[in-house]
Symmetry: C2
Subunit: 424 residues, 2 copies
Amino acid sequence: MKKIKIGLAGLGTVGKGVYEILKKDAALISQRTKSQLEIVAVSARSKKDFVDANVKFYENALDLAADAEIDVIVEVIGGNDLAKNLCEAALKNGKKYVTANKALLAEFGFELAELAEKNNTHFAFEASVAGSIPVIKGFKEGLAANEIEEFYAILNGTCNFILTKMQQENLDFSVALKQAQDLGYAESDPTFDIKGIDTAHKLALLAAIADGAKPAFSKLSIEGVDEVSIEDINLANELGYKIKILAIYKKLANSSQQAVYPALISKAEKIAQVDDSFNAILTKASNAGWNFMVGRGAGGFPTASAIVADLIDIASDRYSCEFGVKTAVLKTANIDKISNRVGGYFLKLLISKDLAQKTNLAEVIFGDKIKIKNSIFIDKEEEILCGFITEKHKEQDVLDVLKLLDSNLVKSSKFLRVEEIVGF
Amino acid sequence: MKKIKIGLAGLGTVGKGVYEILKKDAALISQRTKSQLEIVAVSARSKKDFVDANVKFYENALDLAADAEIDVIVEVIGGNDLAKNLCEAALKNGKKYVTANKALLAEFGFELAELAEKNNTHFAFEASVAGSIPVIKGFKEGLAANEIEEFYAILNGTCNFILTKMQQENLDFSVALKQAQDLGYAESDPTFDIKGIDTAHKLALLAAIADGAKPAFSKLSIEGVDEVSIEDINLANELGYKIKILAIYKKLANSSQQAVYPALISKAEKIAQVDDSFNAILTKASNAGWNFMVGRGAGGFPTASAIVADLIDIASDRYSCEFGVKTAVLKTANIDKISNRVGGYFLKLLISKDLAQKTNLAEVIFGDKIKIKNSIFIDKEEEILCGFITEKHKEQDVLDVLKLLDSNLVKSSKFLRVEEIVGF
């Protein structure tokens, strides 16, 4: 039986998951691949956890790339310093490479894909986006006969957990974040998650495949979950919406929208009902129509399951271009300014009681520039708290009106986007 | 550029969809495959719709199998007479074969897979189950590192449309069926759809892959949508449930449950909210956990999208074994009797007013054999209509009790199953 010899870089939760799946499910996997998938070497920061005498241990992950016995390297160390060097060295040596490293690929995925092509090898990264959901394979193969016209995705379990806690238990952001940290859902430094950076890394990869373009992380507009208050959530709820951090891609005539932001979605939408640490991707494909996928986005076994699926593809000689087409064909993404977005908005204003007396209040505040389709008013002793849902407008037009509000009458204002999903 | 020459058997909605996608999306597809996918011959019942002078037209589909120019045959004629002959002839001639024909594969899939292996070729059938949802690829590749432990699937858009109409508009089955026919969702002879046979064909295919077994259509327990009345739907609704026709697979220690039946599912479950003609598959995988997919199950372009995805895989030299593993390894499915099922039940009884007076009514009716966890009573002039939801019991035990009910007190009884989904 053919043997596929694997070098594993990283022995954290995901690395251990890969190790364990390859052991406990060895019979199943060899039936499915007609091969034997064997970890022959491991590298990790510390050897203390590691006790398999039949497997080489390298203190330096780069030694995996130099080991001639190894066919495939699995990298689950993260970051883009050591991981980048390892990936480059592995590809230069013609090895296959499987990774969950979205930060690395969002920034250097194009160069690495070029390097893989040059060395007649491949890398695979199903585990880097939405863990257990095979969305990369879905886009590149399952929906290969389609243009991806738009997608809306919940790609960060930590953010989704925090928003769910806030909404269900009426908690402040900081309290929900603390709970997420206590449960191990959020890192002690949660910046990458709560600022939307992790979601944006994943968006860059999915959008590259959807768009037939190089990943464009540095051009993305990114807003995090830390911009959402419990007051926003409660007002949105009264108006019939939930707030989710969405990674959004929309194909336009000669460009695309690609952005990460907290968005209001009607509570009736299926994606609004994806709570806790689940991930989801709602895609509109040109021929297949709407497609919705939900699953665990993180965790040792769900992520390891995706890594082993990539290994099984390699063992079965199933390959696709890293971003769906040859690198020479990948265009440079033309991402539209977010201020050009046309859509609905949620406007939260704190207004003086004087102003609140007026009939046609919305017209008094916004003039004829912004059309309001739904509103709610809450008495706050000194002021009135208002939530407005607008009709569709160009974002810049709404921002221009907000900038000119009379500060004597409008004490504060906040702006979030509303996503309306049509036909699903 | 490599050319993949295709023979298309069938020019109905799906065949035309394939034809059109290969024309309008030719540039996209050739970027993704580095090949040119070209229909070189067509066969259909009548030539009248067909006007492409560059493409051969065969009156007899079998001529496609004999045409040496053709690399791949796409079969969208359905049934298992001509289609079976065509498939066998194509495989014997070493051609690749792509089909949406679940009836053919549910009955003869194993023999055809053996034939494909023997002739060193392959067939692919993503379009045969859940149209636009890449669930076959999902099971065979995306979740390849998992045992599929259970799945619950809505696989027939016609049934789902009928149930949705009945529930939303309080219609009798026959009225909803008529609407489905008028809209083209149901055939003039709707037997295959409404009797659950189409769903069972699809279940046989998915369960074969999940179970590592030969498709076992003839052993499946099948109940159709025609067994559901508007009274059942309304009572279930009052108790917090919706009724869906589910294809169900559950892995047991040395066997499996595989069945198609109308089931009550809590309204809070995501799969209960999949309405209209949408399909859905909710899967529990051993490592990846729960995975939920929703999309269009039928229609020209969604189904054609899956067929072209299979063609793109072929053009890209991406293959997997037809049922996930080599035919020599496929076991014979050991399907447990449905009467061994352990689960909850919905019992609808029409009882005399005398009986209704009793305290501990459920105990009087069912003794201590069936534990009731929820009930509802509706006054019907002469009798009382009762809906009961039971705790988990072995199905045979419940049937035994129902058989012995006192017919003077219980005028009629009906039994449906309740599916409780845990952890999603």
